[in-house]
Assembly symmetry: C2
Homo-oligomer: 66 residues x 2
């Protein structure tokens, strides 16, 4: 399993938390948003998913991954 | 019809806009959120709805009506 912490811009409220964590869950990853730090901690299986796919799932929700 | 502009705190993004405008639509009112001004302009039929019901619909989404 891979553990990464991504810097993500534009997350402002619990709706944002739910949309990002939900999108990650849909692709089989587990995400935890920290609004204060503007980060998303993601755990995923590198045999199933690429980091690019993880970033894309977040960006598709309308946020910028640094 | 009644037109009012309410000051609402806690609205931060498009998810918030959709949740508030959607909740107002559900009770038969029409709302337009202005994130910059932190206001919600609402049009409703005073024979069908009370101002309290309008405020409650917004508060039920997790926002404070001033």
């Amino acid at each position: 399993m891979t553990n990464i912490v991504l810097k993500v811009r534009g997350m402002s409220c619990n709706h944002c938390v739910n949309s990002i964590e939900g999108a990650l869950k849909e692709i089989g990853a587990e995400g935890k948003v920290d609004l204060g730090d503007e980060t998303v901690a993601v755990v995923f299986d590198e045999n199933q998913l690429t980091l690019d796919a993880v970033k894309e799932a977040i960006e598709d929700q309308g946020y910028d991954v640094a």
